[in-house]
Amino acid sequence: MSSVRVLVGTRKGAFIMTSDGKRERWDVSGPHFPGWEIYHLKGSPADPNRLYASQSSGWFGQVMQRSDNGGATWDTIGNAFAYEGDVGSHLFYDGTQRPWEFKRIWHLEPSLHDPDTVYAGAEDAALFRSTDGGATWAEMPALRQHPTGPSWSPGAGGMCLHTIVLDPSRPKRMYVAISAAGAFRSDDGGESWTPINQGLHSEQIPDPSAEVGHCVHRIAMHPSQPDTLFMQKHWDVMRTDDAGDRWREVSGNLPTDFGFPIDVHAHEPETIYVVPITSDSHHFVPDGKLRVYRSRSGGMEWEPLTKGLPQKDCYVNVLRDAMAVDRLDTCGVYFGTTGGQVYASADAGDSWNVIVRDLPAVLSVEVQTLA
């Protein structure tokens, strides 16, 4: 019988939750790396026992961890992230140019085919790759050295590369998103990059339709429709059907189109999920109600999913990497909150159960579907 393994990164450690295919009873292990910020951990699609984790601390900097047994034990791997060549500078809050400076790894994206190859998204924004299981890391510098780089500036959370999407049908095509620069696509394995922000409209920047400067929060893709991407932007939910050449808004009837995560149903490429947040100055759900919104039409028409979720006195946020779906026949959906709850739905969002409710603030949620 299939099972699932949920990987949860929090402000104070990582937790691993496992269940059988019914997803009713859960075993919880952790905290792994107690006391450390775990921005992200993710398993290799090519070898589900291979996990990578980003462990960081204001005191001790960046540590990287790898497990070869599904999280039972971990070993430290390389943590030297050097920007390649001329470091250059980017726009800072005060209008001055600041040199790129490594702060942490926000996101890890293992290769679809090789357990030893993994991509890492950094703050300050850059893309790194390891091809030796994380022992060493090399920057893919063409992204940071894009001519628009000096005009990129940090969002409130820092200038982070937080989203990496690999195209399963074109091995050399990949997408990244940076706050607050926008989305970029490479069609040559990272040798060159194209900003793909046409159609985005951000009133918080001087030219709302600028080529770069947009605060993209997350991008999601269904593997069967790799030219279709869904985006939760700072404000606005967007989609493209031509690999990012042109975006259009699909916020439709959402109560607010601000939010962080967005994800796609495992078997229905037009079924998508978001968690509307009141506003960029509130960072909690509207009206004290925790509601996931689902669209079965690829956007525009949305329905609130509330069964099993608190519908009063709830003021949590759900961060960009804190939602995931499994690939069981009835698609499971998972998300974690800044209040430390991790919720699971075994019926594509129709109803929810809490796996744990008192963790540290949740930074990331990933799920592995195991044979």
Binding site: G58, F60, G61, T76, N79, A80
Partner: protein, 99 residues
């Protein structure tokens, strides 16, 4: 033989439970020499005490010995004799920060 006291999180990373004892094998008893030897014996600590690329001390870590704050000493300044002889430990301390 040098005695080194690590903060709790670095003990966990290094998988030790008490102070670390290092033989510098004739290397200079300086902060740089001690941390080089520490990182060599415990590779998991690389980059956590000083930046992996610049070798700069992490801002929220301090180095103490013999009742003195050595954090701002040059990395190649000899450590006190009592540290070099193992009578006193070299303390790597996480700053009180974060509330």
């Amino acid at each position: 033989m040098i005695r080194i006291v690590l903060p709790a999180h670095l003990k966990a990373l290094a998988r030790v439970t008490s102070e670390v004892r290092l033989d510098l094998d004739g290397a200079a008893v300086t902060q740089r020499g001690v941390i080089d030897a520490l990182e060599s014996q415990f590779p998991a600590l690389r980059g956590t005490i000083r930046d992996a690329l610049t070798d700069r001390r992490r801002p929220l870590l301090r180095f103490y010995a013999c009742g003195e704050d050595l954090s701002h000493e040059a990395p190649d300044t000899p450590l006190p004799d009592d540290v070099a002889s193992g009578r006193e430990p070299y303390l790597i301390v996480g700053a009180m920060a974060g509330g």
